[in-house]
């Protein structure tokens, strides 16, 4: 009988498990490093001196602007939502989560269409550098908002009461904002780092960054070696910026993910925040969701190509769901395994979290190009694994498994170490303990996170564009492919359908999490 104590005791298997997990996650990138070593493409020095080198500072400037905007807007909104109750709070927060689940380029299309509808100049506010930074802030602001909200809810009721007694609501707001600022700023920095490897919004809003250049090298010039070198150079830049963020963020996350005994302060309803809350979150909703949505809807008043849109959706829906669901399953296996390996050890948790931030920050094209190279040098008998829809799902799973790991770590953190101790004393086997006790705590967060991975995976374009087998495109990729040639109304209808589908899946994930929590 395997003892339940294994779950709580240190062991070499934990480090070995984490090493294997990260080796799997970084395999495509490592393959690409070796592939680039042996290629004849331009070296790093000439890449830095050429056009690609000039794109990197431009991308960094957009990243900085998006990070700053996200933090400045998301932090106060998160503090207000975390401290106060106000009308429609839950609804507004739910709707504000939508930009996190929709591909950034779809929101950028919305902004672009809105710009046209508003008659703004093509080189004005919603285009080029400004437009791209704004498009990235559409998901950066909710990211900062929700992390700030979670951090505020982690502050104990007693601390909130003490600050309130000391100086009233203004003092409380200032104290709480100061307390959660590091988490919010680091999340803003993560959002900024993520923009470095995303070509979508720049392509649509007329801003040429480093990620767009890689896409052009591979998809337009068909130069794998050049794309690989550029990708590695960009990954190196991302790594330099992401590593300190990861190292700073990981210890805070590790503490935040462990269960706390502190009771969060109840949400307070005051006269001013009853007005301020809905206005602030409502304004954010207008800027992050309504403006892009209005951009999709406006062309549909002139012409609604329902049949053509339905055709495109029907052609791609099956593949989209296949990629998403398989990626969700694979990410769940890897994510839960890594969370179990880290267990309650603070060192392992910090190491794991730092690694997860790096996995999320690295360019998705890095992994995709690695898989392509692996498929090219492998025997054809491996094609079912390396040139199939499964490859797409695997690449997506290796990109998004950190979401499952975070939720699973949180779920494990809510268990008491003495549960396994009592089980061991009473002779409860590990399998029975896992089935009867642990599952009740792990299943709800894991299912919720798996659904989130499904959503994120269906929203991906970079990996699917580079890896999908012929004729097996996903819906976002179909939109990305037709957007420059198809009529605005068709693009708008397809984008609207995607956002509607994502909203529906979000509601399903939310309802499922509530149902599972109640059931357990």
């Amino acid at each position: 009988m395997i003892s339940c104590l294994k779950l709580e005791q240190p062991g070499k298997w934990r480090v070995a498990g984490l090493a294997v997990g990260f080796l799997i996650a970084f395999t495509p990138a490592l393959v690409l490093v070796f592939a680039a070593e042996g290629s004849r493409s331009p070296d790093i020095g000439s890449l830095l001196g050429g056009a690609f080198g000039t794109r990197i500072p431009r991308s960094l400037a957009v990243a900085f602007a998006a990070a700053l905007l996200s933090t400045v807007v998301g932090l106060p909104a998160g503090v207000v939502a975390g401290l106060y109750d106000f009308p429609a709070r839950r609804l507004l927060l739910g709707l504000l989560a939508l930009p996190l689940l929709v591909p950034s380029f779809i929101m950028a299309i919305g902004l672009s269409l809105a710009r046209t509808a508003l008659g703004l100049p093509a080189d004005g506010l919603l285009s080029g550098f400004n437009g791209t930074a704004a498009a990235f802030a559409l998901f950066g602001v909710p990211m900062v908002l929700f992390i700030t909200l979670a951090s505020v809810r982690g502050i104990s009721r007693r601390q909130v009461d003490a600050a309130r007694l000391a100086g009233g609501e203004r003092h409380l707001f200032a104290c709480v904002a100061r307390s959660v600022f590091p988490a919010a700023a680091l999340t803003g920095a993560v959002a900024g780092v993520l923009t470095l490897s995303d070509p979508g919004p720049g392509q649509i809003l007329g801003f040429s960054g480093a990620a767009s250049e890689i896409l052009a090298s591979f998809a337009a010039q068909y130069d794998f070696a050049l794309a690989a070198r550029q990708c590695l150079l960009l990954a190196g830049v991302v790594f330099v910026f992401a590593l300190p963020v990861a190292l700073l963020l990981a210890p805070r996350l590790a503490i935040g993910l462990l269960a706390r005994d502190a009771t969060p302060a109840p949400l307070v309803r005051t006269q001013s925040t009853s007005l301020l809350g809905p206005v602030l979150l409502g304004a954010l909703l207008v800027l992050t969701v309504t403006v892009p949505l209005a951009g999709f809807i406006q062309p549909l008043f002139r012409n609604f190509p329902a049949e053509r849109a339905a055709q495109e959706i029907g052609r791609t829906l099956g593949h989209t769901l296949t990629y998403g669901v398989t990626a969700g399953l694979l990410a769940t296996l890897l994510g839960v395994a890594l969370a179990l390996c880290a267990g309650r050890s603070s060192k392992l948790r910090i190491g794991l979290l730092a690694g997860l931030v790096l996995v999320m920050a690295l360019p998705p094209s890095l992994g995709a190009l690695g898989w392509i190279h692996l498929a090219a040098v492998s025997p054809s008998s491996l094609d079912p694994a390396l040139r199939s829809p499964f490859t797409v799902s695997l690449a997506l799973a290796l990109r998004f498994f950190p979401v499952v790991t975070l939720f699973a770590m949180r779920g494990l953190g809510t268990t008491s170490p003495s549960w396994a101790g009592v089980a061991a004393i009473h002779g409860v086997s590990l399998s029975v303990f896992a089935r009867k006790i642990l599952a009740a705590r792990l299943v709800p967060p894991v299912i919720t996170s798996a659904l989130l991975v499904v959503l994120l995976a269906t929203a991906d374009v970079s990996s699917v564009l580079l890896l999908h087998p012929p004729g097996k495109s996903s819906l976002p990729l179909a939109i990305f492919t037709v957007m420059s040639n198809a009529p605005e109304s068709l693009v708008g209808a397809m984008c609207l359908a995607y956002v509607g589908g994502a909203g529906l899946l979000l509601v399903v994930a939310w309802v499922a999490s509530i149902w599972l929590r109640r059931k357990s």
Binding site: S3, L5, Q9, S416, S418, W419, G421, V422, A423, A424, I425, H426, G427, V428, S429, V432, K436, I437, A440, R441, S520
Partner: protein, 249 residues
């Protein structure tokens, strides 16, 4: 007569810093031992070593004459030591009902299901929580949860019951009631108790012997009444003073 529990030169360290070392004592069946010492001196760790949840770094442990732990190895796993343990947080499995908690606690008992059910119900009954058998632990009061944890522990009819500050946070009336019930159950089942506590009230009401850990070593041990009559350690001197104060008031 062989001691129920024998501990020789036991030592445990964390991060190369010794928590305690060279701790030697024995507990005879029917005697109840109080493990005393300041916070962080290693009392709960010592209980975990006795339970077999952790292995010692030095020393050996015997139970009923059988060697159960040696340095860095647990020879006999916890569930084969005929013991039970009450944790400070009670460690009730929150998603199982009271009856299911006790039934799962009988996992190592090889009996037909109806017999196990009967045994679990009898334990709940003995601890006066049978009427809550279908309730989840979270819906019970703290006193009822203590009784449920005790029911799960005694259902296996342990020879040794390890108690890690199980009465912390209870009001005096409830604590007094639970201690009286525990003493009665231990006597009826022939169970020996090892109690970790900071409360002189619990010690004097429940224990016959005491062991004091101070500065990482066993400061004194023996019969409680004798020790309290001429306390040498800081802990027992404070205990004796508190006991005298209580009896005056």
């Amino acid at each position: 007569m062989t001691a129920l529990l024998q501990v020789q030169n036991l030592g445990k360290s964390f991060d190369d810093q010794a928590l305690f070392e060279s701790v030697t004592f024995e507990v005879r069946a029917g005697r109840h031992l109080a493990l005393l010492g300041s916070s962080g001196c290693g009392k709960s760790t010592l209980l975990r070593l006795l339970a077999g949840l952790d292995a010692p770094q030095q020393g050996r442990i015997w139970m009923n004459g059988r060697m159960v732990s040696v340095p860095d190895r647990v020879l006999v796993p916890p569930h084969e030591r005929k013991l039970a343990m009450l944790f400070q947080d009670l460690a009730l499995w929150p998603n199982l009902t009271a009856l299911e908690n006790v039934l799962l606690g009988l996992a190592s008992v090889r009996e037909p299901k109806p017999a196990l059910r009967e045994r679990a119900t009898a334990a709940l009954d003995a601890c006066r929580v049978a009427r809550f058998s279908t309730r989840l632990p979270g819906t019970l009061s703290i006193g009822q949860q203590q009784r449920l944890a005790l029911a799960r522990a005694i259902a296996v009819r342990p020879a040794l019951l390890l108690l890690d500050e199980p009465f912390t946070g209870l009001d005096l009336a409830l604590k007094s009631e639970l201690i009286a019930e525990l003493a009665g159950l231990a006597s009826a089942l022939g169970t020996t108790l090892v109690l970790v506590t900071h409360d002189p009230f619990e010690v004097t009401r429940l224990c016959t012997d005491a062991l004091v850990i101070e500065d990482g070593r066993c400061a004194e041990s023996g019969e409680l009444a004798t020790l309290l009559a001429a306390p040498r350690s800081r802990t027992l001197q404070a205990f004796a003073a508190a006991t005298r104060q209580n009896s005056k008031t």
